[in-house]
């Protein structure tokens, strides 16, 4: 039976193969996009085969090679998409719904593909060094390598494919492969739990997406996401947008759906968290960009809603990041913040479309796209730095760290650069995109009509300013407590600087970051092409839009350059003046105490405590301790611990999950562990489908 089935399947596969419209080389392009897709598949399978064949010590290098190969393969059409036309092609599968599977790389996809490639290559370069200490876990490592290749290429596929069902397949491949990357240390219960949490939430996202895509098909008869624009979003069509938005928002981590991030990121190995936070959440943003392109009504109100959700996400994310002790968890919350900032920019762009204000459209969308790039850079840099720290100290609790700048000077500088740019401080890249968003907010204020819109924009400005301020608080705390001062606990072994192979990707990232900070004009030119290419609604010619912001951005680059020079001049001046002066070293001033202890240092908790108390309604602290009873006369060993928890998870998500569990318990008999009954379920299902089509319920 099984064999027959297999043969039938093979036969079908064969048929499909024959109907594939093989890439035609008569086209002007050097390499057609279908060929690229097939080649990536081939490279992927070769890569997997290589893991099986090659001896252990070559496997990491092999994976780097494959990821690099796939990156170059997919970068070529992306770059030429930027050069001119959209690269598109299609496969024809006769037995597949929709028959034609379109694949296309337009400028928007190209932008995301290039970001994915850069971050993934950096991730694997870092990961090779990072995973060296897990050499003994051969099985884990092999699985990790295989899924990393799949993870990278499936993300690229997500950006290439323009066919709902295949898109969902690629989306699912991406989610599952990243799940396996997250649960690298699956022997650890906590990690497994975080992985399950991640898996469940990702599948919720798929449920919403499938519903949305099928609805589009039902309305328009096409599986393309672009078909959304043919559906009137005035009436029922708005629900499609809501469904798709929720699906993508779960991936991106907008506010009520962010709860997977703070669990998955600390559990995953650092390079995986870097890549996940850097790009996988951005694919949610990519999806939202695609939906936005299909909206044809109600831009203003959708923009206002998106802006409001995003401001709240940003504030909530950074407030929680400020008080966390686990630095990777804090970085995860910080991702929520940055997704919020990106969402704010997109909301502004939508408001711009609603107001028919090309300047605002441009500022909003280009700010969002540029922040996508910026965040992928500095967040992966910070996660890599955090990974180096974790590798050397084996703790993620900042209260046990300190003084690492003496042991790991290069990592410290790189982390500091990441911290400065994530706080949006010039001369680094984070400022460029935040500046565009600020400009968008102000120009929105100048152009909106109603009082409510103006107030919304002012509140958003206050939100963004506060986010900037709190992120300074968060990252001074994180950098100061991890790297500066004295170490707060004994390290098992003396931390040493990471190897060059781990530092190299960080240097690459910093180079790109500085280039954005100093030459923002170049990147804006790229982004402006995307905006004028794939922006919906009425848009004026691109050059008229771009001009004023262009000049402004080159001024930013100039100011940043002058600022760097000025800093150099001041330092040089100080150096030449004080060169010959007497310099004494002595203990830190301790109010007269001459024997300071490291434990007396200001801790991360105390640094953020005033802030935590001030924001007490949002940031709740849980204290674990036993009260002293009156009968307890004699002293005994006691423990006291505090932690901040996520109120949305505790008061919104968990109660909902419990309710669901309660209901679903009644259906537990379905999962009884007997294969026979599962076969019967399958039979029932087929029967239902059969009866349905027989009785004309299903067409």
């Amino acid at each position: 039976m099984i064999i027959i089935n297999f043969i039938v399947n093979l036969n079908q596969l064969f048929q499909i193969k024959y109907t594939i419209n093989l890439p035609c080389f008569t086209d002007n392009h050097a390499m057609s996009i279908e060929l690229v897709l097939i080649l990536t598949l081939v490279a992927l399978f070769t890569g997997m085969l290589g893991i099986a064949i090659l001896p252990e010590r070559f496997r990491a290098a092999w994976v780097i090679f494959i990821v690099l190969l796939n990156s170059i393969l997919t970068a070529i059409p992306s770059v030429s998409a930027f050069g001119g036309h959209t690269q598109s092609g299609s496969f024809f599968l006769s037995h597949f719904p929709g028959i034609e599977i379109k694949i296309a790389i337009d400028k928007l996809s190209a932008w995301f593909i290039l970001i994915i490639n850069f971050t993934s290559v950096n991730g694997i370069l870092f990961g090779r060094g990072y995973l060296k200490s897990y050499k003994h876990l051969t099985t884990n490592l092999d699985l990790h390598w295989i899924f990393y290749m799949l993870f990278h290429i499936s993300m690229v596929w997500v950006c290439m494919i323009d066919h709902g069902i295949v898109f969902l397949v690629a989306w699912e491949l991406m989610s599952i492969s990243s799940l396996f990357l997250v649960i690298f240390e699956y022997q650890n219960r906590e990690t497994l739990k975080a992985g399950l949490n991640y898996m469940v939430q990702m599948h919720l996202s798929v449920v919403f997406l499938s519903a949305g895509i099928l609805w589009i098909y039902a309305e328009s008869g096409s599986f393309s996401l672009a078909a959304l624009s043919t559906i009137d979003t005035h009436g029922n069509g708005i629900w499609i947008i809501i469904l798709l938005f929720i699906g993508f928002a779960i991936k991106a981590g907008f506010l009520p759906f962010h709860t997977w991030l703070p669990h998955a990121h600390p559990a995953a190995p650092s390079h995986v968290s870097g890549v996940m936070s850097g790009v996988i959440v951005k694919l949610g943003i990519y999806g939202i960009f695609r939906i936005i392109a299909g909206i044809n009504h109600n831009w203003l109100i959708i923009g206002e809603i998106l802006l409001s959700i995003s401001v709240i996400s940003a504030l909530y994310g950074i407030m929680n990041a400020a008080v966390k002790y686990d630095f990777k968890r804090a970085l995860a919350f910080c991702t929520v913040e940055n997704i919020g900032i990106i969402g704010m920019a997109m909301g502004l762009g939508l408001i711009g479309i609603g107001l028919e204000n090309p300047g605002l459209i441009f500022l909003g969308f280009s700010g969002a796209l540029l922040h996508v790039l910026n965040h992928s850079l500095f967040k992966s840099l910070l996660f890599f730095g955090a990974g180096s720290v974790y590798q050397q100290t084996h703790t993620r609790n900042i209260e046990k760290l300190g003084g690492l700048i003496n042991y790991m000077p290069v990592t410290a500088v790189l982390f500091l650069i990441g911290a400065l740019s994530i706080g949006g401080l010039p001369p680094f890249n984070g400022f460029v995109s935040e500046f565009l968003i600020y400009n968008g907010l102000v120009s929105g204020m100048l152009s909106v009509k109603g009082i409510s819109d103006i107030i919304l924009l002012v509140l958003s400005t206050i939100g963004l300013v506060l986010v900037g301020g709190i992120s300074i608080l968060t990252f001074t705390k994180m950098f100061g407590v991890i790297f500066l001062g004295n170490s707060r606990s004994e390290f098992r072994h003396k931390p040493v600087e990471s190897s060059f192979s781990m530092l190299l990707p960080q240097f690459l990232i910093v180079t790109v970051m500085l280039s954005i900070g100093l030459f923002p004009k170049f990147y804006l030119a790229l982004v402006s092409q995307i905006v004028s290419d794939s922006c919906p609604g009425p848009l004026l010619p691109a050059h008229a839009v771009v001009y004023p912001s262009y000049e402004v951005l080159s001024s930013i680059g100039r100011v940043s350059a002058i600022f760097i020079i000025l800093i150099g001049v001041v330092i040089l001046f100080k150096y030449t003046v004080t060169k010959k002066r007497a310099v004494k070293t002595c203990e830190t001033w301790g109010c007269g105490y001459v024997k300071p202890v490291a434990k007396a240092q200001y801790t991360g908790r105390s640094f953020a405590r005033t802030f935590g108390n001030l924001m007490g309604t949002v940031i709740k602290e849980k204290k674990n301790y036993q009260r002293i009873e009156q009968s307890q006369v004699y002293p005994e060993v006691r423990s006291f611990s505090t932690s901040y928890f996520d109120i949305i998870e505790k008061y919104l998500v968990m109660p909902l999950v419990r309710r669901f569990n309660h209901v679903l318990n009644y259906f537990q008999f379905v999962q009884n562990g007997k294969i026979q009954s599962y076969v019967i379920y399958g039979l029932f299902f087929i029967l239902i489908i059969f009866m349905g089509s027989l009785l004309n319920f299903i067409h």
Binding site: V559, I562, C586
Partner: protein
């Protein structure tokens, strides 16, 4: 550059005037106007003591702090003359460049591994975060009022319309005076003359700095005051020709310094836990400016 040079000139006398006002108010004769700058010069000529715990962050931070303030000052216009660099939305960059300096000072104080300096750092981070919205709302309202987004355009077109702009300028000046006080950790929120580390903000952050570095940090205070004073002066200078605008600028700075001296003499420091409330009051005053602007523009529909 004219703006930059007169700001530097004023900054030399500024603290002297503040100190003189304070001593006169408390019935003393007080030191000469040049005394604070002489102190700073003396510090600049001294050697330095560094803590053994500190790293190079501690040594470069004061330079970056001073550079950030100088850079911010370079962006300020003087009435009709634009600053060294002027572009749409430059007030955002102005605030963020100052933020860069602040960031470095905060981590420098954490670098000492002291049990007090982190306290100051934490408060500095918190209060400067809380005060930032006030500045942005004031600048945003003025941008809304004039329809421009750069310092130069805002200030040079502020008084083209009705004279209500002077009222808005006065309210904005009120906000900026207190922003300057808070940014410099002066009286209502912090007492620079206090003797207990536990109650300080800015002073406790720089406990370990000495010599040239301390000189730079101390000089940053008058620079920052004059920087905010310049913004205040710009609310009123507007389109005045240079022969009028420069004396007006000096007078406004003088009045600003005297005001600071008077505020410092006749007010007590708040309890640390009351500071956020005070800062929120400033934010609400700036919101008042914003609604005033909306009213003037007839946007209340």
């Amino acid at each position: 550059m004219l703006s930059f040079s007169i700001i530097i000139t004023v900054s030399i006398f500024f603290m002297g005037i503040v100190v003189r006002t304070k001593s006169l108010a408390s019935g003393r004769k007080g030191p000469g106007v040049m005394q604070p700058i002489k102190d700073i010069i003396r510090l600049l000529r001294k050697g330095a003591v560094f803590s053994t715990t500190t790293s190079y962050i501690f040594r470069i931070a004061p330079s970056i702090y001073l550079a950030s303030i100088l850079m911010a000052i370079l962006m300020l216009p003087h009435g009709n003359l634009p600053g060294f660099i002027s572009f749409g939305g430059d007030f955002v960059m102005f605030a963020y460049i100052l933020g860069m300096g602040k960031f470095m000072m905060i981590i420098a104080s954490l670098d000492t591994g002291s049990s007090f300096e982190g306290m100051g750092a934490s408060r500095e981070a918190l209060f400067s975060m809380l005060i930032e919205p006030a500045f942005f709302i004031v600048m945003g309202s003025l941008a809304l009022f004039t329809g421009h987004t750069s310092f130069y355009d805002i200030f040079s077109t502020l008084h083209f319309g009705s004279h209500i702009s002077y009222l808005i300028g006065t309210l904005a000046a009120f906000v900026l005076v207190f922003v300057a006080m808070i940014e410099n950790s002066r009286m209502p929120v912090d007492d620079p003359k206090t003797h207990l580390e536990l109650t300080m903000i800015h002073e406790v952050m720089v406990l370990d700095n000495s010599g040239f570095d301390l000189g730079m940090i101390l000089y940053a205070t008058p620079l920052k005051f004059v920087m905010y004073g310049t913004l205040i002066a710009n609310f009123f200078i507007g389109e005045l020709p240079l022969q009028w605008s420069i004396p007006v600028f000096f007078i406004i700075q003088f009045v600003f310094a005297v005001t600071i001296g008077i505020i410092e003499s006749f007010s007590a420091r708040f309890r640390m836990s009351h500071n956020p409330q005070f800062i929120f009051i400033l934010t609400s005053v700036s919101l008042l400016i914003f609604f005033g602007v909306l009213l003037v523009l007839g946007k209340f529909i």
